[in-house]
């Protein structure tokens, strides 16, 4: 029983990441009608906002030792962290909380990246076939990841969670399990609630603001909204920035779980498309539901009991579920008719 609860938690945690990425992808697709293969790269860029921020604040003053040498005979570098020397305890605190603190940096950076991407490249592709949108954004994704590799190398770069959130929470005791049976890392709870907050925020924004209402109207019928004299383009640019920010934040918060490397975006790309399609193209609730569904199913498929019955099922479960859902529900869980079927 405890194991099943743990797998549900794993599934919810995975699902939060899937849902967050798929949410941004659906926003872009639903509003702009663009299939964005660079969305995984935005997730990766978010993660590297944290890496960059961390590198900046743990900046070290390097002096060359006069007496000691390295194993290869050059003077030993003595590194002193600057933040601690300049800001004392606050510096230490900032380094400890660098993942959370980098959110402040990531939001504007990712928003600007999104806007620049939309204005500079994507807007030229609104009326082009999906295949060309895929090709150009895929090219962009490759360029972005190679640029990151030039600066950060190919090796993963560890980003520890803040000390206070690094431990375990004994979740099981809340459900009446004996202590120590169902512990779960605190950071993963943080991630789950963070994702829930972002998803809730995006939905509320679209549901309860005039801006959101116009965007939703635009998603349903772009032409009519344009005829009403509303500058829908500007709003769509904003939505692209928002989607980039959501993807970026998903990446920022994921860094303590998965040490980021330049290839992170490609790893999530296929998966995020499957989530979006299973949820139904253009449906925000569908994307979120599919994210959590696939996360939980993936966790269950990886249980030893299941694997003993169906060897290799954990390797293919995501794809298998996608096939089954698409064959039983032609437009995914909550998709609308006529979208992306041409």
């Amino acid at each position: 029983m405890g194991d099943i609860v743990l797998q549900i938690l794993n599934g919810l945690d995975k699902g939060s990441a899937y849902a967050l990425i798929a949410l941004g992808l659906t926003l872009i697709f639903g509003t702009l009608g663009v299939v964005n293969f660079a969305h995984g790269a935005l997730f990766m860029l978010g993660a590297f906002c944290t890496v960059t921020f961390n590198k900046l604040i743990s900046f070290q003053r390097v002096t060359l030792s006069e007496t000691e040498t390295t194993a290869w005979g050059s003077p030993l570098e003595i590194r002193e962290p600057v933040m601690e020397a300049w800001f004392g305890d606050f510096g230490l605190w900032l380094i400890d909380y660098s993942v959370l603190a980098s959110i402040v940096v990531a939001i504007p950076v990712m928003f600007i990246i999104g806007v620049v991407m939309e204005r500079g490249l994507i807007k030229h592709f609104y009326s082009r076939p999906h295949a060309e949108q895929i090709l150009v954004t895929f090219g962009l994704a490759i360029v972005l990841q190679e640029v990151i590799r030039t600066f950060f190398g190919a090796n993963p770069i560890p980003q520890p969670a803040p000390d206070a959130l690094r431990g375990m929470m004994d979740f099981g005791t809340l459900l009446g399990f004996e202590p120590g049976r169902v512990p779960y890392p605190t950071w993963r709870f943080v991630y789950f609630f963070f994702a829930a907050a972002i998803i809730g925020g995006v939905f509320a924004f679209l549901q309860f603001t005039t801006f959101g209402m116009v965007v939703r109207a635009g998603m349903a019928d772009r032409e009519t909204v344009g005829l009403l004299g509303i500058d829908i383009d500007k709003r769509f640019t904003f939505m692209f920035g928002l989607a980039a920010t959501v993807a970026g934040l998903a990446g920022v918060m994921y860094t303590p779980i998965l040490s980021p490397d330049y290839h992170l975006g490609m790893d999530f790309l296929v998966l995020s498309f499957i989530v979006v399609v299973v949820g139904g193209m253009g449906s925000l609730p569908g994307a979120v539901a599919a994210g959590f569904l696939l996360g939980i199913l993936q966790s269950f498929a990886s249980m030893n009991e299941v694997k003993a019955l169906l060897p290799g099922i954990d390797q293919i479960i995501i794809y298998l579920v996608a096939v089954i859902i698409l064959l039983t529900r032609p437009r995914g869980l909550l998709g609308r008719a006529g979208v992306m079927e041409d």
Partner: protein, 397 residues
């Protein structure tokens, strides 16, 4: 050459001549070695086949690499069990890939648009993941299926002790190469290349027949407006399924040929990026055109093979004639785009071509041709490239 009116038979003859001259034409670019020329021909076949599905019907399959992989596995198994002769291997590759395509196509074609793409992607990824892990007894997993000294090979007789045999076409060794010096260049005439090239010509000819046939017309109609066809009482499924299976068999042939040239079948052949690669080849060259996919395949394979080999030393040598500081800084910048940075160049090329040449490289050739020919002949390349309405359907949302 693009200026005059070209009939299909003229195009065919030109095509054969160019294909036959590839060893000579590629040599000055350092591309005239067997492995790369074979890739030109084989991935050309793969892309032509993909184009029959995507270029004509508009169905974007994201899992075509699975058929290539299945073809390779079939061929290597044939080499292991039956004989090193390439004919039975290729035969089985095409048949098995065709059957595989029939099953996957039958299921996937129940959906259209991106739902179809994701279904094919899912099937291909499942094949890849299983081939890499659980199916290792059949696929030899990560390492890839290889020949072994103790394989049965029941039809083959004596062999050299302690040495692996190589694939042959009735005694003609696929690896055999004759060097000929032409104008001081080392031109390598390789049996495997000409063997693959013969299949490329055949594949091209069949594709041309399909493009020009009523069947091809029906496929184009599917692309233009499938709903209207359905309303008029035409059941399009058999047509699209036929296109899917033909295209899968092309991929199987390509996979089989890959194994004939180099008897190893790796699971990575089926991974989604490999499927994506053929999409890129087709669009880069020009989807829906006859020649485009072959050009796209050659360009991508050429870039992959050559760009990655320019390490820093090579680049520095290029600019060594410049003054020290200048040469070094240019070399430093250029080195970022070649060698281990070759992916960056590839990504940039995709972006530039799609942005500025929506019809692919064939479109670029047409523009240059149109510019040189001072209009007038504008329609000619449409003939050569066949109906390019291909890349240009708009989305009906």
């Amino acid at each position: 050459m693009f200026g005059s009116k070209i009939s299909d038979s003229m195009l065919m003859i030109l095509f054969v001549i160019v294909v036959a001259l590839v060893p000579l034409l590629a040599a000055p670019f350092g591309a005239g070695y067997p492995a790369l020329m074979q890739f030109f021909a084989i991935f050309g076949i793969f892309a032509i086949g993909f184009n029959i599905l995507f270029g004509l019907t508009g169905y974007l399959s994201f899992g075509h690499a699975a058929f290539l992989g299945v073809g390779s596995y079939s061929a290597v198994w044939m080499f292991k069990l039956l004989s090193m002769n390439v004919l039975p291997a290729l035969f089985l590759s095409v048949i098995i890939a065709g059957l595989f395509a029939l099953v996957i196509g039958f299921v996937s074609l129940r959906r259209s648009g991106i739902y179809f793409s994701i279904l094919t992607l899912a099937f291909a990824q499942m094949s890849y993941k299983l081939a890499y892990s659980v199916l290792t007894p059949i696929t030899n997993g990560e390492t890839g299926l290889q020949l072994a000294l103790d394989d049965p090979r029941i039809l083959d007789g004596e062999r050299v002790a302690g040495q692996l045999p190589s694939p042959t076409f009735f005694g003609l060794d696929m690896n055999a190469t004759t060097d000929v010096a032409v104008l001081g260049m080392d031109v390598q005439l390789n049996v495997g290349y000409f063997f693959s090239a013969a299949f490329l010509v055949l594949a091209f000819w069949i594709a041309m027949r399909i493009f020009r046939s009523p069947f091809g017309l029906m496929l184009k109609a599917v692309k233009t407006n499938q709903n209207r066809l359905n309303y008029t009482g035409v059941n399009t499924r058999p047509y699209t399924l036929a296109a899917f299976v033909i295209s899968g068999m092309y991929a199987g042939l390509a996979g089989g040929l890959l194994a004939c040239m180099d008897p190893l079948a790796g699971a990575e052949r089926m991974v989604w990026t490999a499927s994506g690669e053929v999409v890129l080849m087709t669009i880069l060259g020009g989807a829906g055109t006859l020649l485009g996919p072959i050009i796209g395949a050659s360009v991508i394979k050429f870039a992959e093979a050559k760009l990655s080999k320019f390490n820093e030393n090579v680049v520095e040598a290029w600019f060594s004639f410049l003054p020290e500081g200048l040469g070094d800084s240019i070399a430093f910048v250029v080195a970022k785009f070649v060698g281990d940075g070759w992916h960056l160049t590839l990504g940039l090329v995709f972006m530039l071509v799609v942005t500025f040449l929506p019809g692919g490289l064939v479109e670029g050739a047409r523009r240059i041709g149109g510019y040189l020919g001072r209009r007038g002949h504008k329609g000619d390349l449409d003939k050569l490239g066949s109906n390019v309405q291909g890349g240009k359907s708009t989305t009906a949302e």
